[in-house]
């Protein structure tokens, strides 16, 4: 890997921060193994998508401006989420059409912002991981990562390097899980219909573990699988790639 270590600002994402810090630590481990020094600026909160997708442009801009300032010192911004990375990369620059100076900074940051797994493979050239996972997994492609950032083969490539892991492909892996941020609470019946079809597809693969790269989708699918009483563990892909699967899966507890 490269000579001088690259400085990565980890964009933890608010969901990982609140619900599953393990994913953040898994990201740190993977990034450090890939020769990066990692910092997680304390000034970070959220990428602003809840405001952005609710039509609240003023708050979105205010939040985005803070993210830009907090992460400007780093060579790269990496998030364990295609959705949040996609927000910074694909949407931030368009927020500041009337502020050329800030727009320029937004564009510069956007160009250095990546989703974790694709950063590892595409930027750092990682092709092997020191991890073992005994089980059959299936993989859901979260929409933003897939369609905004082209994340599809990258996680499969690294998962193939995990010892003991078998992948059973999920039919309809590219179809939305019905999460959609605030959508799932604004239109719960429709969201439920969509996620129910997803969990049926997941169960039909026969996999014992479901992985994906976005915690929002994972919380949604885990919550539905568990409500249905299906015994399928749910984890973020970074946990498996980092070999950090000792803790309980999402929505379970070691004592439970």
């Amino acid at each position: 890997m490269s000579e001088t270590p690259v400085r990565v600002g980890l964009f933890v994402t608010c969901l990982v921060d609140l619900f599953r810090p393990t994913v953040g630590f898994a990201a740190v481990k993977l990034l450090e193994e890939a020769g990066c020094t990692v910092e997680a600026p304390r000034a970070q909160t959220c990428c602003g998508q809840p405001a952005y997708n609710s039509g609240d442009r003023a708050d979105t801009r205010a939040i985005a401006a803070r993210v830009i300032a907090a992460f400007e010192p780093y060579d790269y911004v990496v998030a364990p989420s295609g959705s949040c990375a996609g927000m910074i990369r694909e949407h931030y620059p368009a927020l500041f059409g009337d502020d050329p100076a800030l727009q320029k900074r937004a564009q510069a940051l956007a160009a250095r912002t990546y989703e974790l797994v694709s950063f590892l493979t595409d930027v750092r050239g990682v092709s092997r991981v020191a991890a073992r996972f005994d089980g059959t997994i299936t993989y859901h492609d979260s929409c933003s990562g897939l369609r905004e950032l082209g994340v599809k083969q990258q996680p499969r490539k690294l998962l193939a390097a995990v010892e003991g892991l078998r992948l059973a492909e999920l039919p309809g892996a590219e179809i939305c899980c019905g999460f959609g941020g605030t959508f799932c609470v604004k239109y719960p019946a429709i969201s439920d219909k969509i996620v129910s079809e997803k969990t049926a597809d997941i169960a039909a693969t026969g996999a014992d573990t479901l992985l994906a790269g976005d915690l929002g989708c994972l919380l949604n699918m885990a919550g539905k699988l568990q409500r249905e009483g299906r015994l399928i563990a749910v984890r973020h892909v970074a946990e498996v790639l980092a070999g950090m699967t000792d803790g309980a899966p999402i929505g379970e507890s070691k004592t439970g």
């Binding site: 929409c143 933003s144 749910v234």
Partner: protein, 473 residues
């Protein structure tokens, strides 16, 4: 249909979700249409480049719409036809009525036209003593059932054979009530026999247009049943009813867009019939109408042209966005409450009826982006739905509770120390609530979530707390 129920989307959706027959029908949409489009795109190496080209053609047209519409009109007139510029639905209806009355028309045949649905033409003609007969099989079926189309290109996709047979028995009362109608060929034969006599008896034929060609003054329709040809060549008068963004500069341009249209819609390379009409019958023509009229409808489109919704005017009504939409798959077309459904309906309906009526539609999206990824004209549909949400937000039309929650959240998200405090407390409380199970079965203020699924409990400490404890930056 004038009475849109888009404002009632939630109830419409609820009903659709509980309709077992509809759900079976929707299963075909999400499988067959999707697979056929993917196969057609894969068979054509230049498909993606064609999409770019098609988009560019329409963008050029929208930049120069006045020029091409005037060129189109002058060509139509030179060919012996007439163009009627209609600002709104009422103007279009009155124009069509005037033309029909000029020949004392009693029976009008109709080729498939979404604009006819948009201006509610059938009810209007009937109220004025003129019998309209839809000649596209799907449109004919929903006309008998007095319902709007549930899909752009497959208007009766929500029905099964038994429902069609029921509609035929109720409408065709002169036939033997004991006749067998359980198989599709029997239904087809009955519709064909019924429609054939209407084609021959019609005084006026009304079709839509997939394209209006400026260089020749032609209108182009594509069908798979050939009904459009009979509608426009047999009666004395052919009326083309089209909205103004259908114009393209040349036949070559139309041909380019045709190459992405059928592939995106049904996965066919071409529709079975592509029919070009250029003016009324000429002296040495063997057949054709005596009069050729084009009713050009604006109905809000020129307003869209100057707005952030301009790109939606590139739409060629292929239905690919519906076919790939998880929301459409879940609730079908009627839940959207008006003529246009799916992602394009979520953008167009607020433009045409107002966001007050149709505000639910652009909100009922997960922004999964699959629509945009298959749209042959590369319309940024999620972005436009977001624009509607922005209008709702800035005009204070979104629900007060949601606004309140959003502003509270934004207040916290803009203050990192407060954010860390709140998330720290939240992680602990939710962890406690999850208890030994590691998840919550119900949660105050999150009933929408926990009605259908558990809420996974957090691990208990936030990343930021743990990171700081490790002394890291």
């Amino acid at each position: 249909m004038q009475h849109a129920t888009s404002h009632n989307f939630k109830n419409n959706a609820q009903r659709a979700l509980g309709d077992a027959q509809l759900q079976r029908a929707l299963g075909h949409v999400k499988k067959n249409f999707v697979e056929r489009r993917a196969a057609a795109a894969a068979r054509l190496p230049e498909f993606e480049a064609l999409r770019d080209h098609a988009r560019d053609i329409k963008n050029h047209v929208l930049e120069n719409l006045d020029v091409y519409l005037e060129r189109f009109e002058s060509k139509v007139v030179a060919n012996g036809g007439q163009v009627h510029w209609c600002e709104d639905a009422e103007a279009a209806r009155q124009t069509i009525l005037r033309i029909c009355r000029s020949v004392n028309a009693k029976l009008v045949t109709r080729g498939k036209t979404m604009i006819g649905e948009e201006i509610d033409l059938n009810d209007f003609l009937e109220a004025n003593g003129i019998t309209p007969v839809e000649t596209d099989l799907g449109e004919y079926i929903i006309q008998l059932r007095h319902e709007p189309p549930s899909h752009l290109i497959a208007p009766a996709i929500h029905l099964n054979k038994e429902q069609v047979a029921e509609a035929f028995r109720a409408a065709h009362t002169d036939l033997d009530p004991k006749r067998a109608l359980s198989e599709a060929p029997a239904l087809l034969a009955e519709a064909r026999a019924r429609l054939r006599s209407r084609f021959l008896a019609a005084d006026v034929g009304i079709t839509g247009a997939n394209f209006l060609v400026a260089e020749t003054g032609s209108s182009i329709i594509v069908t798979n049943e050939g009904n459009g040809d009979l509608t426009q060549t047999l009666p004395k008068i052919h009326i083309v009813l089209a909205s103004l963004e259908k114009v393209v500069p040349t036949l070559e341009d139309a041909a380019t867009i045709l190459r992405v249209l059928a592939r995106s819609a049904t996965g066919q390379e071409m529709s079975v019939y592509t029919t070009i009409s250029t003016g009324p019958r000429r002296a040495d023509d063997l057949d054709g109408p005596e009069q050729y009229h084009v009713v050009l409808l604006d109905n809000g489109r020129s307003r869209m042209l100057g707005s952030e919704f301009r790109d939606a005017l590139r739409c060629i009504r292929c239905g690919a966005c519906l076919n790939h939409c998880p929301i459409y798959h879940a609730v079908g077309g009627h839940a959207y409450g008006w003529v246009y459904s799916g992602p394009i309906g979520a953008v167009l309906t607020p433009s045409l009826l107002g966001v007050e009526e149709a505000g639910h539609l652009p909100n009922a999206s997960t922004f999964c982006g699959r629509c945009e990824s298959v749209c042959p004209m590369r319309i940024p549909l999620p972005k436009m739905m977001r624009h509607w949400r922005e209008q709702e937000f800035s005009r204070h039309l979104s629900p007060p509770a949601a606004r309140w929650a959003l502003q509270l959240w934004a207040f916290v998200a803009k203050r990192p120390p407060l954010y860390r405090l709140v998330t720290g407390i939240g992680a602990r409380l939710l962890k406690m609530g999850g208890g030994r199970a590691g998840r919550l079965r119900s949660l105050p203020f999150a009933g929408g979530w926990t009605a259908h699924r558990d809420m996974p409990a957090p691990e208990g400490r936030t990343f930021q707390q743990l990171w700081a404890e490790r002394g890291r930056r």
